[in-house]
Symmetry: C2
Subunit: 295 residues, 2 copies
C-alpha cells in the first residue's frame, strides 16, 4: 500500500540501500517472503512494516514477521502502528517489536501534532551505531532529556496535557474492551457493506481500524465520498494513489461507537441509491444491526 | 548565542561544510565580518542568522547583512525569526530576506506545534538544486500541495484554526501598533532593571522580544528564576549553556502588555530583596511606570 511505499521512499531520501518486497495492493505481505529476503541478504539491518496499512485496510502479520526477526542479532523490526496501536493488541515486549510508532490523531483521539516511538533494547543498540543525518529527530538526545524528565526541544504542550486525559479514559475502558469494541465495529461494517452487495478491497486479513471497499462497477469512488460529505456532512475517505477513484474507506477507530457505524452505513445507502447502484435498501443497516446488537 | 550555535550543529548533522563567525555571547555579529567571510569564500551558499537571539537577548543587524547578500547571486540569507517575527518589522521582500522562519509559540501567541517558512524566489531556486536528505520537510512537495490549497502531510489542524483567530487579532491591532507595543514594553523593562542597579547582558542592540540581565554579583541566576516561579508563580527564564546561572531573561513578546512588565519587575524586586541584593525598593517599578505612562 501507499504507506509501505512511503517507508521505501523515506529510506531512499536518506540514501539507505533499500529492497522492497512487492505486494499487490489489498494483500498482506507473507512472512515467508520476509524470511526469504533476510536469508538472501543477512546484512539487512531493518525490516519496515505497517501493522495496519491505511491505504488498503490490510492488517499485516506483525507477530509472524517478528518471530522471524527476533532471533536475528543484526536485524530489527520497525512497525508503523499509526492506525493499529490502540485498535488491536500489539504487545511490544512479548512479540519483540523493536520500534513501534504511532501518532496522536488516530486511536489516541487527539488532534494531529504528536508522534510516538517506543524502542526495544535491541533497537537502542542500533541507535548508538547509526550515522544517518538527523538533528531534531535524534533518539539519543531525546533519551538523555527523558532521563531528566524533559524533552530535548519545545514539545506540543497542550497535546501532552490532552494525552494524559485520553490515557485515563482508555485505562478506564480497559484495553481489552477497547480492542473488542474496535473488532465489533469493524466486523459490523464489513458485514454491512457485503450485505449491500459490495466487495471488500482487502483480500487477506482486514485491519480493524478501517474498512476499505470497492466502489460498485461504473461508479467513481470519488463521487461517493464527495456526495456523502456535501449532502450529509459525513467524511469517509477515498482511495489513494493506485486505488484512487476505485475504493472508499470507512474509519472506525478511536472514539467511534456503534452508532457511528449505523450512521455511516445509512448515509452510504442513501448516497449509493442516489448514484444509481441497485441494491436492497436497508440491507446494510440490517446486517450491521444484527452484528452489533444480535438477533 | 545558543541558537546561532544550533545553526552550526544542524548544518554539521547534515554534513554541510560550515564556517562559524564566532561572536562573543551578548554581542551582535558585525556586517563587516559577514562580508569578509563571503569575500574570502565566494562559494558560500547560505548565511544563517538569528534575528533575535533568544539565549542572549541580542538583535542581530539583519537589514545590514541582507544588504550585503542581496547582490550575490550564489548566496542566500536564512533568518531564524522565531522570536523576532511579529515583534519587530522584518519586511522580507523589501529587505531581500531569502528564508524567514518562525514558530507558533512566540509572537503568534499559540501553543507550540507549527513552524513557518517563507521563501524568496532566489531561495526557491536553491530548493530546486538542493540534494540534502529530507522527506517530510521537503519544500518542493509542500509547494506542490500548496498549489492545491492543501498540505503535503497531516497538519496540526487545531493550531491552523487558532492561527486564523490570532491573525485576525493582529490585523485588528495593526502591525505598527504591535511593534510599538513591544518596543515600549522592552524599553520599560530595560530601564527598570537598570534603575535597580542591574546590568543588561546585551552589549549591542537588544532584542525587543526579551530582556537578558546579569544576575547581581554573588547571586546565582537559577535561584532568582526558581524563587520567582515557586513563590509568585511567575516564569522568567534562566541562562542557557554559556550563560547558565549567570543571567535571567524576561520575555515581553506576544500578548504581553504593560502590566505584565509591572508584575515581572515587582516580583523581581521582591525576590532580589529576599536574596539579599542591596537596592532601593521600588526603583525598578518607578522607572517602568515612568517609561510606560509618562511623568
Amino acid at each position: 500500500g501507499k504507506f509501505g511505499e512511503r517507508w521505501f521512499d523515506i529510506c531512499k531520501a536518506y540514501s539507505v540501500d533499500v529492497k522492497a518486497i512487492d505486494v499487490e495492493w489489498g494483500h498482506a505481505v507473507s512472512p515467508e517472503a520476509v524470511e526469504k529476503a533476510l536469508n538472501e541478504d543477512p546484512k539487512i539491518k531493518a525490516v519496515y512494516i505497517q501493522a495496519s496499512e491505511t491505504s488498503t485496510g490490510i492488517y499485516h502479520p506483525v507477530k509472524e514477521i517478528a518471530d522471524i526477526i527476533k532471533t536475528r542479532e543484526n536485524t530489527i523490526l520497525i512497525v508503523d502502528a499509526i492506525t493499529a496501536l490502540g485498535v488491536v493488541d500489539l504487545p511490544q515486549d512479548e512479540w519483540c517489536l523493536d520500534v513501534v510508532l504511532t501518532g496522536s490523531q488516530k486511536a489516541l483521539m487527539l488532534p494531529p501534532g504528536l508522534a510516538f516511538a517506543s524502542l526495544s533494547d535491541k533497537a537502542w543498540g542500533f541507535v548508538e551505531k547509526s550515522t544517518l543525518p538527523r538533528y531534531y529527530f535524534d533518539f539519543k538526545k531525546e533519551k538523555k532529556s527523558l532521563g531528566k524528565n524533559q524533552n530535548a526541544y519545545t514539545p506540543n504542550v497542550q497535546l501532552i496535557v490532552g494525552l494524559r486525559e485520553i490515557l485515563k479514559e482508555i485505562k478506564e475502558e480497559g484495553l481489552e474492551k477497547v480492542f473488542e469494541r474496535h473488532g465489533s465495529l469493524a466486523n459490523a461494517t464489513r458485514l454491512a457493506v457485503q450485505a449491500m452487495g459490495l466487495k471488500l478491497y482487502t483480500v487477506d486479513e482486514p485491519s480493524n481500524a478501517l474498512t476499505a471497499v470497492w466502489a460498485p462497477e461504473g461508479i467513481d469512488a470519488g463521487k461517493i465520498t464527495k456526495l456523502i460529505r456535501e449532502k450529509y456532512g459525513i467524511t469517509i475517505a477515498g482511495g489513494q494513489d493506485a486505488a484512487k477513484g476505485r475504493i472508499f474507506r470507512i474509519a472506525h477507530l478511536g472514539y467511534a461507537g456503534c452508532f457511528d457505524v449505523i450512521t455511516a452505513i445509512s448515509a452510504l445507502e442513501a448516497v449509493l441509491k442516489e448514484l444509481g447502484y441497485k441494491f436492497e435498501l436497508c440491507s446494510g443497516l440490517k446486517a450491521a444491526q444484527k452484528a452489533l446488537f444480535g438477533e
